[in-house]
Symmetry: C2
Subunit: 377 residues, 2 copies
């Protein structure tokens, strides 16, 4: 639709997809003697070359030593969240999430009829005192949570990164009370500045942490290729599950091509380029916010990822803004979807700087600024 | 491993994969203006062009009129069985399967902690009297089954096709007692001779039947693309589920390329060619069985699909045969995996004619014949 500005869209802009490079990789694949591995069932654990690449990269990029037995290829991080939920829980089990948390993960947890308890976050991630209190109350009620789900770096929807100190506190709690941690680390490589804290997986020395990664943000979402890092006993169990036995591993065709792409050395270069692109996009969005938002609006200043989280003045309601913006053909993600109790999101919205062209981004944010001024009068 | 004969392998032989044609389709995709749809998130319902193709084909091939709202693209039939099980059941629910039934579906049902009741089949499919009795007993015990799972055409592992009369009887029972039917129809297009009965979905006029299809048998398993036909309300519900919301529909890259392949007209030609190839392979296997098996061995004579099911003489045990065959580097699927109670499969084995070269097939079957003679002495 010409003229509409989808600030809700959390996926890469078209010009950020490495289509020409990917084409070169696919072109080369046809003449390889093992081309058949693209087409037939593969190992349940997933493409072995890609597993080897990922193990090496975790060592080089993070100093994290994991064996092949700690890795498996999955059909995107989504697929992983769904599989982990399916394997680790039964209906009515309790799980823990951030407030706000990733909307579509909440959707999966609701689908599987879990009882979702959310704990507020601030600029350093989840509030540890509140988390501790929640866990204690649950354990006392005989309802020990099964896992804590978190997007630790540049969280969706807020862009916030969980601090190292809090990561350690969470691990301590998880050990004391016997719950697992699902670390949905899909934005790690889209880091603009500085260093990230070590992953929960690394800090916990691999025990009871399930760490998900993906090529959706750094290559292309349409390929549906990601990975899981976990304790080898768990990997063995997942690899032996019915879903993988039947399907011959996750997406053999696209996983094999992604392996070729990574092993060609192109991926690292593309990621470095992407970081600059997303940083530029983020800066444009933040500048537009500074220029156009009334003083009563607050927002996060992410150091990576795709998203900025806005908080409206007390007398404004996101439903009114959504309705008014729709008339101007500007679309954002209402805060309500990111909370277990949607009303908690009535003064919030998420905008994404990953997708829309820069001019549209400026125009869309400008429109939102005008509308908020008008609505909060 | 040189010299080993994997008669267990239920996937296409390398020379049956249309790699060159598929390459031509992919080559052409790069220069299309909508190439980006291969790389980004797509509709939750799946590739719209592929859905359109499938709706037209169901009409042309079977006279079955389904709307786009009755179809969705899935990441292979496996993915569909897993999703349906997840959506339709909770742990400890009862479901019904054939005895024997598809091993890897049993695996999924066990993973999800279902109570699996199996009902014997004969050359026309499930025994309706036994099914009726089982359902009555379950309903009386307050445990109405959630669904009956069946591979209706050229069943895995037996190659048996469910008769039209029994399909109608199953639908009648399912309506009376309120259980669903999962019709895992993955071998339909690999039909050598004659006509198939109308699908359970067609006979039930689309009510309470979930029909799965796949490109794994007629194109390539490594692409992970299949489809689900169901009532539009169910499709809407599945499309809105967390798994699909998060993933942007099933495998956008490979689904888009499969759509191009199908719309080019190449698929129909390839399927016709494949039927001849598999028929030839099946005939070679059946001839080898006639020539080499002792009179005390019985086997099915499938009219399509990938598999032949063997029944050993009363004094033979499949474990002994498996051990002896392994020493000769001949491998088959033991019957034990296809039964809820593995001991029921101790006189059975499945061999596949889809994968090994014809000479190996003759040699492997010959070896099995010799070993059975020796073991049943």
């Amino acid at each position: 639709m010409a003229g509409s500005i989808p600030l809700f869209a959390g996926h890469p802009a078209h010009d950020l997809l490495p289509i020409a490079d990917f084409q070169a990789i696919v072109d080369a694949a046809w003449s390889k003697p093992d081309v058949v591995r693209l087409f037939n069932y593969g190992d349940e654990q997933g493409d072995a070359r890609l597993i080897g690449f990922l193990a090496r990269r975790l060592l080089e990029a993070e100093g994290l030593r994991v064996g092949r037995e700690n890795l498996m290829i999955i059909g995107g991080a989504t697929w992983g969240v769904n599989m982990l939920t399916q394997q680790l829980t039964a209906p009515d089990d309790v799980i823990l999430v951030d407030s706000p948390s990733y909307r579509d993960a909440l959707h999966i947890f609701r689908d599987q009829e879990l009882e979702i308890r959310s704990v507020p976050i601030d600029s350093g991630g989840i509030n540890i005192a509140a988390l501790t209190e929640t866990v204690h109350a649950l354990v006392e009620a005989g309802k020990t949570p099964k896992f804590y789900y978190v997007v630790p770096n540049f969280q969706n929807p807020t862009g916030i990164t969980l601090s190292r100190e809090r990561r350690l506190a969470i691990i301590k709690l998880s050990r004391r009370f016997g719950f697992s941690i699902i670390e949905d680390d899909v934005y790690r490589d889209i880091r603009f500045v500085g260093e990230l804290p070590a992953s929960l997986y690394a800090l916990a020395k691999g025990k009871n942490v399930f760490r998900l990664g993906t090529f959706s943000k750094t290559l292309a979402p349409g390929l549906r290729v990601g990975w899981l890092v976990a304790d080898s006993e768990w990997i063995e169990r997942f690899v032996g599950s019915g879903l993988l036995k039947m399907g011959g591993g996750a997406n053999p065709f696209t996983a094999a091509v992604v392996a070729d792409y990574c092993l060609s050395g192109r991926w690292e270069g593309h990621v470095a380029w992407l970081r600059d692109q997303y940083q530029r996009r983020c800066e444009v969005a933040l500048a537009a916010l500074r220029e156009t938002m009334p003083d009563s609006v607050r927002w996060t200043r992410p150091r990576g990822g795709y998203f900025i989280w806005l908080t409206l003045p007390p007398n404004a309601h996101v439903d009114d803004l959504e309705l008014a913006a729709k008339q101007e053909r500007v679309y954002f993600a209402s805060g309500k979807g990111f909370f277990v109790n949607p009303a908690d999101g009535k003064r919030h919205l998420r905008i994404s700087f990953s997708y829309v062209p820069l001019d549209d981004m400026r125009r869309g944010i400008g429109t939102l600024g005008e509308l908020i001024k008008r609505l909060s009068r």
